[in-house]
């Protein structure tokens, strides 16, 4: 056993235990940890944006560039100033112009990205043969069943979300198959989420036992 002599490790251990103490009940140590986290994250983000974006791209760019590359920077600088107008109540509405620019650009990129990078490839991936020949009978059954399940799952889940026709008769039956597939997906998702949360606990416990107390 060799307890760490690094004061930063002690601070990290204190903050870890402070955050964990919330599991017992809300308390002053948890509040301290929470406020330090929020404050330091905001400060860190600000510094990062300044040194990785505003200074090299805007300020240094304006000083060092010439011609078009220099003067084009006036546009983002102007939009940034418009955004800051939110803090000046009488002219706060001007910030909407900058927001409109951001939203427009985001929507444009998002729509094309989703269509080209998600919807079309995903539809293509469900156009599969119902019979796949494998190197053995068992493999053929396995591969074919896999494709059938995938197509059935996709179509029935889409029918479940089709609300333009009342879910009665065959539509009801298919949508019930669809909800079964959706439930299986939720179950897998929940299982993975449990694993993720336990992983976080493992990470902190390992830190306490290894880095702080030196027991492992």
């Amino acid at each position: 056993m060799s307890i760490s002599l690094n004061p930063w490790v002690w601070i990290a251990a204190f903050l870890t235990l402070s955050m964990m103490s919330f599991l017992y009940k809300d308390n002053i140590f948890y509040k301290i940890g929470e406020h330090i986290y929020v404050g330091s994250s905001a400060a860190f983000m600000l510094i990062y944006l300044w040194y990785f974006d505003v200074k090299p791209k805007l300020i240094d760019g304006f000083i060092n560039n010439t011609g078009f590359s220099r003067w084009i920077l006036i546009i983002p600088a102007f939009l940034s100033l418009l955004m800051l107008m939110r803090f000046v109540r009488p002219v706060a509405w001007i910030s909407r112009w900058a927001i409109a620019f951001t939203v427009g650009m985001g929507a444009g990129l998002g729509i094309t990205g989703l269509l080209q990078g998600f919807l079309v490839p995903q539809i293509k991936a469900t156009i599969l043969p119902l019979y796949v020949s494998g190197h053995s009978t068992l493999m053929t059954i396995y591969l074919s069943l896999n494709n059938i399940l995938l197509i059935l799952g996709t179509l029935s889940a889409i029918v479940y979300f089709y609300f333009s026709k009342e879910h009665t008769g065959p539509v009801k039956k298919i949508s019930q198959i669809g909800i079964t597939f959706i439930m299986v997906a939720f179950g897998a998702s929940f299982g993975y989420t449990v694993m993720a949360r336990i992983s976080l606990l493992i990470g902190r416990v390992y830190f306490l036992l290894h880095n702080w107390l030196g027991l492992v």
């Binding site: 990785f52 897998a188 993975y192 694993m195 993720a196 336990i198 606990l201 990470g203």
Partner: protein
């Protein structure tokens, strides 16, 4: 008996937290190890990197922060070990400013372990805001987004970067994801530039990424602590993830038992009512 079952169904949640904490701590302290064979998608990711010719460029994107570190940091370290062992060149950037220093720490640690030189064997580019715009411009010319590395050194003065201009010069992009940046990599880098992508993700978002793998939009997927542990096994360097997976196994059994106990308690109470 019924009284016991009723009580079992109403255990104070703080006792459950304590039991889980003790289970995790004990398993780590005794260094319990359970054998498991790596998942096919992790094996595929390993093989793709393993088959790259020496000198190929692998780009890592750090899209997580401290809250996902226990899952993604071991994954990053295992993959970096693999890259440096195979003499591959590493470029690192990221879209989560708070997580980038964690990536840089791991990169410096592993590079030191393999005696790799900054600028020749690996480069840390840092962060630029603009997510999709950054991804699209990386496909045209890296210098239009990152004129310099994180220290302000012009890219052309770094030997590794001299012949790296866009995705055509990057063999594999590895995105370590705790949020939706992985979707953006697939939608922009893969769909528009045909960039080969391996995603490493937290367990929470792993189920959402499987459709990309099934559709062939990504070539490999490493999910959660299990994925990290599998990769550690494949690079023959078991570390924190492998140790953590033993705790994971014990806690999962415990959770199943607690769920059963809770349900038995619930039905015992309901019958009484």
């Amino acid at each position: 008996m019924r009284e016991f079952l009723e009580k079992a169904g109403n255990i104070d949640r703080r006792i459950i937290y304590l039991i889980i904490f003790l289970a995790v701590a004990t398993t780590i302290l005794v260094k319990a190890r359970f054998k498991s064979s790596p998942l096919p998608e992790v094996q595929r990711s390993y093989k793709i990197i393993n088959d790259l010719p020496s000198g190929s460029v692998v780009m890592f994107s750090i899209d997580y922060d401290a809250s996902s570190m226990p899952e993604l940091d071991p994954m990053l370290r295992a993959m970096l070990r693999h890259c440096f062992k195979k003499n591959l060149k590493v470029i690192m950037l990221g879209h989560w400013p708070l997580g980038l220093p964690l990536g840089q720490l791991a990169l410096d640690d592993i590079a030191r372990e393999y005696h790799k030189k900054y600028g020749t064997d690996y480069v840390f580019l840092g962060y630029r805001p603009g997510l999709q715009a950054v991804m699209l411009n990386l496909g045209k010319e890296i210098r239009s987004v990152f004129a310099t590395d994180y220290k302000g050194t012009p890219l052309d003065s770094l030997p590794l970067m001299r012949n790296v201009h866009n995705y055509n010069d990057i063999a594999i992009l590895v995105g370590l994801e705790a949020g939706s940046v992985g979707d953006a990599w697939v939608q922009f880098a893969n769909a528009r530039f045909n960039q080969k992508i391996i995603l490493g993700s937290t367990a929470v978002i792993t189920p959402d990424l499987y459709p990309y793998l099934q559709a062939g939009q990504i070539v490999g997927l490493i999910g959660g602590l299990r994925g990290a542990s599998d990769y550690e096994t494949l690079v023959e360097h078991p570390a924190m993830a492998s140790l953590g997976m033993s705790s994971q196994t014990v806690v999962h059994v415990l959770i199943i038992l607690l769920i059963l106990l809770g349900n038995i308690g619930y039905f015992a109470t309901r019958r009484k009512k």
